[in-house]
């Protein structure tokens, strides 16, 4: 099966924008809402998520196609995939602590929380359910992470400005974040039909 550049480009656009994992598929909302308070947090988290997402997609893809299917162990998928993600997050933590201690300290509690980021587990499922080959899995996971980061940074930028706006008392903070997200979601719907 030949995969052309156009096919890959379509994957990138649809994964990052048209079917944005946060704004169109509702996946990955907890860290999105929790971390989007300022732009630098969002960027940092986006990068960490991207790293874990791509790595875990590759590893789970390999496990699925070369171990699970031949050995008929499909029912162990949920357990093994999430364990792979947990292990990778631990590795990232150790690596960061040793080589980039400043970034490690800045990320604080959010690093271990990446494990429960539904988006990463969801992407590992999609990577195998869509019958992608290895190249497509890599491109797909990078694109989803890109879309996730873009949406988070957008919200963070708006929330930074919102701090100086007159928001009704009971809607300060999280309620306003959701309402702004609704507007972002409407904007992203405009991407539909982009790929003919």
């Amino acid at each position: 099966m030949s995969v052309t550049f156009v096919d890959l480009f379509k994957i990138i656009i649809s994964a990052a924008f048209i079917e944005n994992i946060l704004l169109a598929r509702y996946i990955g909302l907890c860290p999105y809402i929790g971390m989007s308070t300022n732009i630098s947090n969002s960027l940092g988290m986006g990068m960490a998520v991207a790293f874990v997402m791509v790595l875990s997609s590759i590893v789970t893809w390999g496990l699925w196609n070369y171990i699970f299917i031949p050995l008929r162990l499909e029912y162990l998928r949920i357990m093994v995939f999430i364990l792979v993600i947990a292990v990778l997050v631990q590795l990232v933590e150790i690596l960061l602590k040793k080589n980039l201690p400043n970034l490690y300290r800045a990320m604080g509690i959010y690093l271990p929380l990446i494990t429960t980021n539904c988006a990463i587990l969801a992407v590992t499922f999609f990577g195998v359910d869509y019958n992608y080959n290895l190249l497509q899995v890599v491109i797909y996971s990078i694109s989803v992470a890109l879309g996730f980061t873009v949406a988070t940074v957008l919200l963070a930028g708006i929330r930074e400005k919102l701090r100086y706006a007159k928001v009704p008392n009971f809607y300060r903070g999280y309620p306003m974040a959701f309402i702004v997200t609704a507007l972002l979601a409407i904007a992203f719907i405009g991407f539909k039909g982009l790929i003919k």
Binding site: M1, D7, K10, Y75, L76, M79, Y130, N131, K192, G193
Partner: protein, 189 residues
Amino acid sequence: MKPQLKISLTLAVVCAIAAASLAAVNQVTQKAIAINSLKELEDSLKIVYPIADRFELEGASDREVSSETENQGFTIIAQYQAYQGDQKIGKVYRVGSKGYGGQIVLLIAISTQTSTMVGMRVLEHQETPGLGSEITSMNFQEQFQNKPLTDSFELNRDIQALSGATISSRAVIRACQGVLSELGKEAGQ
């Protein structure tokens, strides 16, 4: 006991118990799951071609819509021979067609006896709710019932498009035309 040993042992025991219980549940549910997917297929074939009493998969195995088919305008996913008793009365094609929001999967039933399209059913789609999603409505699908294959199948001349959903309607037409040309190819062989 050494702490390292206790840690690994606990983890191993818990994993073993978990894996074993899952294997057991899997055994119990496997049959039902397999039956469900077969039944789903049978049901949808029956709906689109009611007078047939059984169907047989023709040619290559029925593969799931994969990414390679996702980005193309039209693909044939599978085709089935429709029987009434021992007599071959027609075919059902399971096809994919690129719509507005993504791949549309439909069943198109053809009667080889009367050279008509028996009917069309949309199985999966990602069209806009309220607009393109109306391709699943009876009003739209009725246009394809018992339709002579010699009709032009042109949008707005032959088939009424859905208001506000030209691309979705066109996708369905493309699927029909694809099936027709496939039939032509087979007849020519």
